[in-house]
Every structure is written in structure tokens, then in C-alpha cells.
């Protein structure tokens, strides 16, 4: 026997919080994968767990393992009997009579509980041989050796094998671990928990042309005797949970980071130039986190691997991250750059909180997601600026509020009683929130969003300095613990718990944040405010009324301080109101006298903002008059206030609103996202004002002034995207303009011709950047200009009765889509836009509705973005025919 691969795994832990101690703490685990067959998509290997029994009569050891075939189990070299049972394979028995979602959901939750490693359960039950019982009673070490194989895995490990000629390496075949939450059990037997830590030895024997990337330090690479394969030996001495173990094997190109030699990047063949550019920024993220956390990166090395068919864009594991290869880009690509950098920064934040520091239990997950999301936010603020940061926070806030109001509350820290889930805190959901594996993906996304927003609320309460001190404390404790031996029982310091985190906060800041935690962490829901006001001239007092809706699903009652900012003629004044049970009205004295200016005869108030710092997870519907929104847009410096004002102005289609929006649009000092938003609002206002609108179509003269040639205003300048703000505006304006409608509710001919001219004269030859996103948005603009066809009793769409404008549009789309075959654009953005546009034409009855084209683009082998766009079109088609079917009934 020559076992080439093995995985050593050991762990030890102490669960202070839960009072639960693993009966089978592992201290070290070996994982050895000695054969990987890409053709058959199979894996053969063994694991060896070093276990310290903590209870005497431990005669059964339960481990996690899914879809693995277990050949043989030995405990201390003695053959051991084992039973393998995975209850999630058949959640409901076939004969069961109940067939509803509720029944399934309960059965599924029960099945997941039955194998929950945190409760000492597992799919694989090993009987300790009776010869060893005495040994166990003396609490001596057990070594459990399991031989296993894996055939065509359905999850956990993903094989990408392109169907072409050549060796696997030449074909760019690769395999990587993936999955949602703890899913390591899919590819080797282990204790698949985030709370059971051990040290690791990982060995992978792969084809000599391949590289195996895994956690910890690569100790050595050794050829096999026939020199056709090599074995990668990894050691991970920092205690790590099995769920944070990962693997990627493929014919990767290797790039040692030029700024940090302990960081290595890997990508698929031919992509090295893109990898170089994409990762050239990473060291700055390292520097940022290390600086704010005043803590070195915890692992001795870091690896990034970019792979195809990624399960998620970013997956963080101990000392390595697996990214989607589609994040790679060249220096010519503008739009992808910030997105990719954000992914890199997210991955790195999770290295500190999530990988190095793990969690005590599932209900502590919010702390890890909260902290990593929060420090990622700090990086955003530093890198992209305060405006971008505040915009992002507002976006996240809007998202969580919309989700909770629609679907029901998101609970960050669920506490589960031992008994039945009768008092299930999430009874509004179709699934149990007791286990990560029973959650919906959307819920989990919103959960992460809420977690980092709540961290920001804590920061508001205790200050950023204290916040960072808390993080630093957690990290340094973990760091000390990680270098200790298992027997010292220190490793639990590397697990974060809600109570430990809160204790740390109170120790560091001396502040009581219990009410805040109770409000946002221990209970679900968001706050819904309705505000209105009246100005009492006699008393020179602002009478503010703030109502709450706390009876609708997903809402909760808010009691506590609420900041209100009143912008008066004489300046801005902050007031902190105390929101209490029964007080709706609040009198706020004004400072300015209304006499000062005649034009403000009514009141000296320019605008009012409720909770301007977003210190409450809330939605605010506030009523103030149109001129106040206009002032807010023009003169308030906060981008969130500006965006709120823009959205509010949609309801006031007046020349004054038009002017305010146009002025903002022209102001180069204004945040580019605000200007982009203003474009769409202006289009809506113009449509509402269509009968009284004077002058050329909205934004046309502005676009001409900004982007067209002085001598020939109908021709756009040759592209120069060096100024990104104007680039984004140039992309957006045509898209918004195409939404303009005339009195007949048609897109004005002038606008359509304008867009067609932009396409015609588009010239990117002298540009430093690719114009693929710009051209894609011009196609989007064409699609936006399409209005429903005038249909005479459902006549069949043919070329002969094609609307002449649509003919022009189709001409462009055909050419674009065909050119894409010859000169494909980055991420095929143009194909994506063309498919969307064709669906719009179908939907509006200009082109026969037919899913055949989309189906061909949805096939495997097309780029993922194209497939998604095509599938969306097919879904849209299906929906359309579905409703049509019902109409005919």
C-alpha cells in the first residue's frame, strides 16, 4: 500500500456559550487525495483524524460525509464497523401522504438537524472496536483512518472539463471545491462545522502539468516514481475549521505578487496578462486592512485562484480565496474594475473574520458577516470616497427595508430553545432559519446586508476608534490562541460568539449597547416612518408629526432618539427628538425669522430631513413641498439627500423641477451617480410635462454641449473615456433620453435619430479604453425607445408591416449581434444587450414572439452573462404566453 494522499485533521474546542462539548474533538486531520480523474470526474483518497476522547464510554464516533463512497474505516489500525446514512437524500418518504411545502420544510429541517455536527451528529457513524474501549476510557488518542472515493460529485467539488482535443492540462480542465456554508463533507469525511478547529496536513497528487492550490503553506512538491505526477504537500498549523478547507486543481498559470511575495495568484491558461492587471491592486487592500486593524494578516501566505463556472463570485477559505475567472479584466475595461476590486476587498476582509476567526455557532454568524462587511465598507469609503460609501449604505438600507417589508423580518441572532419550533421566530418564512442549509439564498444575502448595517449602527453608538479596538482585541486573542498547542484549550478564543463580542464592546467602550442589540439583533423587522410638518408662524415653530407603522409584516416599533435636520435660511440645525410610545407631534423652534426674505413669505424653512445619518434601519416617507425638494437637491451636500430629492421630484413635474434637475446634471462638481439618477427623473418629468414642454427634447442640448463636436453638433466626439464621471454620464444620458415620449406616447423621432447617430459616429479608435459597455448601453437605449406596435386585430408580424423606425433599430441590432461573432466584446456585453433588445421588440409586437433564438444562446458553451440574458428572455416569453393563456380562458 502506498497511500499518496492523506488528510490529517485535528481539533479541539470548548464551547463556552452553548455548554456543549464535542465528544470527539479532533486535533489534527490529514486529507490525502491521491488520484483525481478528470475524465470520469472522480477522486480517490483517505483521511486520518486524530481524536482526543473527552468522555469515557465513547464507543461511537459520528462524522460528516456526503456522497462519498467509504471503503474502509480503521481506528488505531483496527478495522471498524460503520454505518452511513444521509437523511437529506430522501427528505420525505414516498409513501407520505402530505405533499405541501410546510411538511417538506419541517421534514427537511429535521433531516439537517439529524446530521448537524454542532450537535455531535453526522452522516457517518463509526463503531469504535471493542478492543479499544479501555483505551478510550483512559481518554487516549484515537486515529481514525477512512478510505473513500467520490464519483461525479453533485456538489462540493466542481469539475470543469472542456470538450475538446488534447490532454486535460491543454484543455484547461480544472476542479475546485465550492458550496454554500459548511459543505466540506461533500468531498471528504470530516467534522463539517465552523466551530471545531484542528490543524491540517493536506496532500494532493495531480498530473505533472497541473497545480494543486490549497490551504496553508506549500511545504514541498514531489514527483511520483514514474515522474508523471506530482504531490503537493500542504501544512496548515493555524487551527482551522473543516468548513474553511478548500482546493483548486488545474493547469494554472502562476503569478507571484510583485509587491508581496508570500501572495500567489493563479489563473487559467492564457489569462496571465489579465491576472497581472487585476491583482495589481490587491496589496493596497492588504495594507488598508492591516493598518485599520493594527494586526498583520494572520496566515503566512495568501493565494487567489480564478476559476471558471464559479459557484459564487467570491469564496473565502483559510489563506486562500476562490474567485470567478470572469472578474479578470484588462486595463481597457472601466466598468468591471471597481466591481472586481470590491470582490477582492470582500474576500480579504473575510480572511480576518470568517476564516481566521470562525464562529461558535450558527446564531453567531451575524457577527462575522457584520464585521467583515463593516471593514469592507471602511475600505470602500477610503477607496471610492464618502459619496460612494454613503450611496452604497443607502442602497443596502433600501434593499433590506424592501425585503423585510415584502417578505418579513430578517433575524440576525436567533435563539433556539431546545424544544419544538412551535415558537419559531421566523414563522412568516417557508423555511427554518435554524440551520444555514435550510435558508433561502435571498434571505441569507439580506441577512449579510443587515449584519453590516447593524455594525455601522454600533459604530455610530460607540465610535469607530472603539470599534476597531474591539476587532483588534478579537484578533490578537485569536492570534495568541492559534500558536498554542491543542491541549491548552485555548483554541476556542478563535471562535467568536455574540456574547463574547458584546462583552468586548462593553469592556472597550464602557457603553451599554444592549438596547441597540435588542432592537436590531435579537428581533427582526425595520421601522417605517411617515413624516409631515406644519409651520406655525405665530410661534415661529415647526410642528413635526412623525407616525410609525409597526403592524405591517416586517416592521417593528422604534422607541428612542431620532435625529432631524432642519435647514433654515440662517443655517442648518440638528435636533434630536425622543420617539416615544404616544408622542407623534414634536415642536421644533425655528431660528430664522420669516421676514428676512419676501420670497419665503410662508416659512423660513428650506428643507427638513429625518434621520439624515441613517442611524435607524428605516424607511421614511416625508412630505414637503416641491420647492423644498428642489432646494434640497440643489444645496444639500449629502448625496443621499440629493438622491432622495430626485426621487421625490418625480411627483412634481414643473418647470422649476426641470431647472433644478438640469442644473444638477450640468454641475461637474456633483457626484456622478446623482447626475445619472437625475437623467431618469428628468425623462419622467419631461413625459409628464409633454404638452407644455418647450425646447428640444430633454438632455439633448446638454449632451450635445458635453459630448458632441463644436463645429458639427450632430456628430459625437471620438471617444475619450479618461474622465470616468463624464464617461458614466455619456453612457446613461442616451438610455434615459430614449424613455422620452411625445403626445402620442411614442419616442420622438428626433431622439431615435439622435441615438442612431451616436451609434453611427461612434469612433473608439483613439480611445485608451474599450467602448463595449458604452455601445451596449446605446443598444439598451434603442430598446428603451421601443413602444408597443399598433396592432390591428392580432395580425401576424411580418417584415412587410414592420414599422420603419423598428426597421432601423433592427438593422443596428443585427449588425451589432453579427459583429460580435467576429469581434467579440468583453463579457459579450453587446450580445447581452442585443438579446434584451430583441425580446423588447418581440414583447411590443414588432417581431414575432419566439423563444428559439434565446434558447440557442442559453445553451451550455455560451458565456455565462449571455446565457443568463437568454434565459431571462425565455422566462419572460413563458410568462407572457402563460398570461395570454389565461386571458383566453
Amino acid at each position: 500500500q502506498t497511500p499518496t494522499g492523506m488528510l490529517l485533521f485535528r481539533m479541539n474546542r470548548k464551547k463556552g456559550d452553548k455548554g456543549f462539548e464535542s465528544p470527539r474533538p479532533t486535533t489534527h486531520q490529514v486529507v490525502c487525495i491521491n488520484n483525481i480523474n478528470f475524465q470520469r470526474k472522480s477522486v480517490v483518497g483517505y483521511v486520518e483524524l486524530t481524536i482526543f476522547p473527552t468522555v469515557a464510554n465513547l464507543n461511537r464516533i459520528k462524522l460528516n460525509s456526503k456522497q462519498c463512497r467509504i471503503y474502509r474505516v480503521r481506528v488505531n489500525d483496527l478495522e471498524a464497523a460503520f454505518i452511513y446514512n444521509d437523511p437529506t437524500l430522501e427528505v420525505c418518504h414516498h409513501e407520505s401522504k402530505q405533499r405541501n411545502l410546510n411538511y417538506f420544510s419541517n421534514a427537511y429541517a429535521a433531516a439537517v438537524s439529524a446530521v448537524d455536527p454542532d450537535a455531535g451528529n453526522g452522516e457517518l457513524c463509526i463503531k469504535v472496536p471493542s478492543e479499544l474501549w479501555k483505551h478510550v476510557d483512559e481518554l487516549k488518542v484515537l486515529k481514525v483512518h477512512i478510505n473513500f472515493s467520490l464519483d461525479q460529485p453533485k456538489g462540493g467539488l466542481h469539475f470543469v472539463v472542456p470538450n475538446m482535443e488534447g490532454s486535460m492540462a491543454e484543455r484547461g480542465a480544472h476542479v475546485f471545491s465550492c458550496g454554500y456554508q459548511n459543505s466540506t463533507r461533500f468531498w471528504f469525511p470530516c467534522v463539517d462545522s465552523y466551530s471545531e478547529l484542528c490543524t491540517w496536513k493536506l496532500e494532493y497528487t495531480v498530473d505533472a502539468a497541473m497545480v494543486a492550490v490549497s490551504n496553508g503553506d506549500l511545504v514541498e512538491t514531489v514527483y511520483t516514481h514514474d515522474m508523471r505526477k506530482k504531490t503537493f504537500h500542504y501544512m496548515l498549523t493555524i487551527p482551522t475549521a473543516a468548513s474553511n478547507i478548500s482546493l483548486a486543481i488545474g493547469p494554472f498559470e502562476i503569478l507571484v505578487d510583485p509587491y508581496m511575495h508570500e501572495v500567489t495568484h493563479f489563473c487559467l491558461p492564457q489569462l496571465l496578462p489579465l491576472l497581472k492587471h487585476t491583482t495589481s491592486y490587491l496589496h493596497e487592500v492588504f495594507e488598508f486592512y492591516e493598518e485599520i486593524l493594527t494586526c498583520r494578516y494572520p496566515y503566512s501566505c495568501f493565494k487567489t485562484v480564478f476559476i471558471d463556472e464559479a459557484y459564487v463570485e467570491v469564496a473565502a477559505y483559510a489563506s486562500m480565496s476562490i474567485f470567478s475567472t470572469n472578474l479578470l479584466h484588462s486595463a481597457m475595461i472601466i466598468d468591471e474594475t471597481p466591481l472586481t476590486r470590491r470582490c477582492l476587498a470582500q474576500a480579504l476582509a473575510q480572511q480576518f473574520f470568517g476564516c481566521f476567526i470562525s464562529r461558535m455557532s450558527w446564531s453567531d454568524e451575524w457577527v462575522l458577516k457584520g464585521i467583515s462587511g463593516y471593514i469592507y465598507g471602511l475600505w470602500m469609503k477610503k477607496t471610492f470616497g464618502v459619496n460612494e460609501y454613503r450611496h452604497w449604505i443607502k442602497q443596502e438600507l433600501d434593499q433590506i427595508v424592501a425585503y423585510e417589508l415584502k417578505t418579513g423580518g430578517v433575524l440576525l441572532h436567533p435563539i433556539f430553545g431546545g424544544g419544538k419550533e412551535k415558537d419559531n421566530p421566523a414563522s412568516h418564512l417557508h423555511f427554518s432559519i435554524k440551520h444555514p442549509h435550510t435558508l433561502s439564498w435571498e434571505y441569507y444575502t439580506m441577512f449579510q446586508c443587515k449584519a453590516h448595517l447593524v455594525m455601522r449602527l454600533i459604530e455610530n453608538r460607540i465610535s469607530m476608534e472603539f470599534m476597531l479596538q474591539v476587532f483588534n482585541k478579537l484578533l490578537s486573542l485569536a492570534s495568541t490562541a492559534s500558536s498554542q498547542k491543542f491541549q491548552s484549550h485555548m483554541w476556542s478564543q478563535m471562535l467568536v460568539s455574540t456574547s463574547g463580542f458584546l462583552k468586548s464592546i462593553s469592556n472597550v467602550s464602557g457603553k451599554d449597547i444592549q438596547p441597540l442589540i435588542k432592537q436590531w439583533v435579537d428581533q427582526s423587522g425595520v421601522v417605517k416612518f411617515y413624516g409631515s410638518f406644519a409651520f406655525n408662524r405665530k410661534r415661529n415653530v415647526l410642528e413635526l408629526e412623525i407616525k410609525q407603522d409597526y403592524t405591517s409584516p416586517g416592521t417593528q416599533k422604534y422607541v428612542g432618539p431620532l435625529k432631524v435636520t432642519v435647514q433654515e435660511l440662517d443655517g442648518s440645525f440638528n435636533h434630536t427628538l425622543q420617539i416615544e410610545e404616544n408622542s407623534l407631534k414634536h415642536d421644533i423652534p425655528c431660528h430664522s425669522k420669516s421676514r428676512s426674505l419676501e420670497m419665503f413669505a410662508d416659512s423660513p424653512l428650506l428643507w427638513i430631513r429625518i434621520d439624515p445619518d441613517m442611524s435607524v434601519l428605516r424607511k421614511v416617507e416625508f412630505e414637503q413641498s416641491d420647492f423644498m425638494w428642489q432646494y434640497q437637491l440643489r444645496y444639500e451636500r449629502d448625496v443621499v439627500a440629493q438622491e432622495e430629492a430626485i426621487l421625490a421630484l418625480e411627483k412634481f413635474p414643473t418647470p422649476a423641477s426641470r431647472l433644478a434637475l438640469t442644473d444638477i446634471l450640468e454641475q461637474e462638481q456633483c457626484f456622478y451617480r446623482v447626475r445619472m439618477l437625475a437623467c431618469f427623473c428628468l425623462a419622467k418629468i419631461a413625459n409628464s410635462m409633454v404638452s407644455t414642454w418647450t425646447g428640444p427634447p430633454a438632455m439633448k442640448s446638454l449632451f450635445t454641449r458635453m459630448f458632441c463636436c463644436k463645429t458639427c453638433p450632430n456628430i459625437v466626439k471620438t471617444n475619450n473615456f479618461m474622465n470616468f464621471q463624464s464617461y458614466f454620464l455619456q453612457k446613461t444620458m442616451p438610455v434615459a433620453m430614449a424613455l422620452l415620449r411625445d403626445v402620442h406616447n411614442l419616442c420622438p423621432k428626433e431622439v431615435l435619430m439622435f441615438i442612431l447617430d451616436l451609434i453611427k459616429y461612434n469612433d473608439n479608435r483613439k480611445n485608451k479604453f474599450s467602448d463595449n459597455y458604452y455601445r451596449a448601453e446605446l443598444i439598451d437605449a434603442l430598446a428603451n425607445s421601443v413602444t408597443p406596435a399598433v396592432s390591428v386585430n392580432n395580425e401576424v408580424r411580418t417584415l412587410d408591416n414592420l414599422n420603419p423606425d423598428v426597421r432601423l433599430i433592427l438593422e443596428e441590432i443585427t449588425r451589432f449581434l453579427n459583429m460580435e461573432k467576429l469581434l467579440p466584446s468583453y463579457r459579450h456585453t453587446i450580445t447581452v444587450s442585443c438579446l434584451k433588445a430583441i425580446r423588447v421588440l418581440q414583447k411590443n409586437g414588432h417581431v414575432p414572439s419566439d423563444p428559439a433564438l434565446f434558447k440557442s444562446y442559453a445553451e451550455y458553451g455560451h458565456f455565462i452573462d449571455v446565457r443568463i440574458a437568454a434565459l431571462e428572455a425565455v422566462v419572460d416569453y413563458t410568462k407572457g404566453t402563460f398570461f395570454k393563456y389565461f386571458d383566453t380562458l
Partner: protein, 312 residues
């Protein structure tokens, strides 16, 4: 007295070509006469060249061989020039056809003018003209140019000046910006349309209209074996463009109208548009690990040879 076997000058010009004519010389058709006359002229040429090269006499066989070679050579020039001229869809060879032919045959054309004007050159008398063809008198315009000294007088006269004298006309090059842009745009559009239509015609297509497959032909979607490569890698055109593009040489007409390239870095206050941080900045402050020359990274280390394992 030397006997010429191989003409010294001719040796390097005559190359290949066969055309040995054999057969009876009984008939005296005009064609035969013409052939004989030509042959005779060529013999005179060869003889005079030999004389010029310093031979005093030559054996008939040698003269015949050289004549044959000269004739082959001239025939080959004619044949080849005709091919070149037909290749460019013309019927009359031009000077450049002849030049290309000579070059192709390995002749150094640049030596020709000097050779033609050499001093010891012998002028051959005009061949006897038997049936002077009557050329119809064309309307003459202008004064025909006299022959230069190195062209024998019996050669045909220069044609009327108006047939070869050129008067270059200069039209203002189109520099109007609008016209140029218009031209570039429509040219590109035409090329793209023609190209995609060609591709669509020669390959599989899809159509949006069941009753019509030719008005808006779409090249059929074809899956890739490795889809991410085409989606992520810049096309060769783009690569080329990137190399050529220097941000400083934006087109002249619009340059002045373009906005300042970079956001000013004066900041403070939330109005600062921070997207400028995105500027692809490759210059960095310095290595985190100092200026080590040798990078020690485990993935760069050589793979070890297998150890001989001992069985337990």
C-alpha cells in the same frame, strides 16, 4: 584570333528559355519571311555584341546558339510581361510590367540605362524593310519629341505629346472634419455590413421572421468549448489599438473640446467625486518586501525527485 563559344556579356543575361526551332525552310510564307528577317536581325545583334566584346570572328554554331539564347530571353520577357499585364486586368503591357518581369528574371534593371548609353555601343543599321505597313496618318497634335541619341533613328517615333505628357492637378485634400467623420462612419458601417452579410450568407443563420431569412440575417449562435477566453481576452484589434493609442494624441479637432483628462485632486467635502480613484494606476509606492531580487515562493521552487520509501 579568338573564337567565341559563349558571349562574355551574354552569358549572364541569357538564362533558360527554349525555343529551338527546327524544321524545313522550304516554304516562303510572309510569316516565314518575317521570322527569317527577325532571325537575321538578331544574328546581327549578336555579332555586333561579340565584336563589341572584342571577338574578331565566331563560329557559326556559336553565333547560332547565342542567337537562340537571345531570342528565348526576349520571348520570355514578352511572355512574362503579358502575364503581369493581364494579371492586373490590362491588355497592354506597361513599363512597370517589363521592369517587374526583368526583376523577376534576375536582371538588375538599374544597370540598364547605363548600358544603353555606353560609349563603345555599335549602332546597327535599320533592317531592310520589305513591306512597310502603311500607318494611317493620325491627326498630329504638338511637336513630337526627337529621339535621344541612344535610340536608333529607324525606331518608331515618339507618340504625340498629349498621349503621355501629364499635367498634375491638385485637388484640395478633404480636410473638413464633418466630412471625414461622415466618411469614416459610413465606410466602417459598409464594411461591417458587407462582412456580416457575407458571413451570414456563407454560414448558418437564425432569423427573427419566419417568412424571411435574408433581410435581417443573424449569424447562428455557436457555443464555445472554452467560452471565457473569447469573453475576457481583448481582441487582437483592441490589443493593437491599445498599443497605438497614446492618450496625448486624441484627434485634433476635438482635443480642445474634451474635458480635462483627470479629475483635479483638490478635495475636501462630500462633493469630491471619488471615482477618480479608479484610474488605472500602476505606479505604486514600493514593494512591501523591500527590493529583494530573489523571490522565495514555494510555487516557484523546483519539484523534488521522489524519495525511495521504505516499507514499514
Amino acid at each position: 584570333m579568338r573564337t567565341a563559344l559563349y558571349g562574355s556579356k551574354m552569358a549572364d543575361t541569357a538564362s533558360g528559355g527554349s525555343g529551338t526551332r527546327s524544321g524545313s525552310k522550304h516554304a516562303t510564307t510572309p510569316a516565314d519571311n518575317y521570322y527569317l528577317a527577325r532571325r537575321r536581325t538578331l544574328q546581327v545583334v549578336v555579332s555586333s555584341l561579340l565584336t563589341e566584346a572584342g571577338f574578331e570572328s565566331a563560329e557559326k554554331a556559336a553565333v547560332e546558339t547565342l542567337t537562340e539564347m537571345l531570342q528565348s530571353y526576349i520571348s520570355e520577357i514578352g511572355r512574362s510581361a503579358k502575364s503581369y499585364c493581364e494579371h492586373t486586368a490590362r491588355t497592354q503591357p506597361t513599363l512597370s510590367d517589363i521592369v517587374v518581369t526583368l526583376v523577376e528574371m534576375g536582371f538588375n534593371v538599374e544597370t540598364l540605362p547605363a548600358y544603353a548609353k555606353r560609349s563603345q555601343r555599335m549602332v546597327i543599321t535599320a533592317p531592310p524593310v520589305t513591306n512597310q505597313p502603311v500607318t494611317p496618318k493620325a491627326l498630329t497634335a504638338g511637336q513630337n519629341k526627337p529621339h535621344p541619341s541612344h535610340i536608333p533613328g529607324h525606331f518608331p517615333e515618339f507618340p504625340d505629346p498629349h498621349t503621355y505628357i501629364k499635367t498634375p492637378t491638385y485637388r484640395e485634400p478633404v480636410s473638413d472634419y464633418q466630412v471625414l467623420r461622415e466618411k469614416a462612419a459610413s465606410q466602417r458601417r459598409d464594411v461591417e455590413r458587407a462582412l456580416t452579410r457575407f458571413m451570414a450568407k456563407t454560414g448558418e443563420t437564425q432569423s427573427l421572421f419566419k417568412d424571411d431569412v435574408s433581410t435581417f440575417p443573424l449569424i447562428a449562435a455557436r457555443p464555445f468549448t472554452v467560452p471565457y477566453l473569447t469573453a475576457l481576452l481583448p481582441s487582437e484589434l483592441e490589443m493593437q489599438q491599445m498599443e497605438e493609442t497614446d492618450s496625448s494624441e486624441q484627434d485634433d479637432q476635438t482635443d480642445t473640446e474634451n474635458l480635462p483628462l483627470h479629475m483635479s485632486t483638490d478635495d475636501s467635502g462630500p462633493e469630491k467625486e471619488n471615482a477618480s480613484v479608479l484610474q488605472q494606476n500602476t505606479s505604486l509606492s514600493g514593494s512591501r518586501n523591500g527590493e529583494e531580487n530573489v523571490i522565495d515562493n514555494p510555487y516557484l521552487r523546483p519539484v523534488k525527485k521522489p524519495k525511495i520509501r521504505r516499507k514499514k
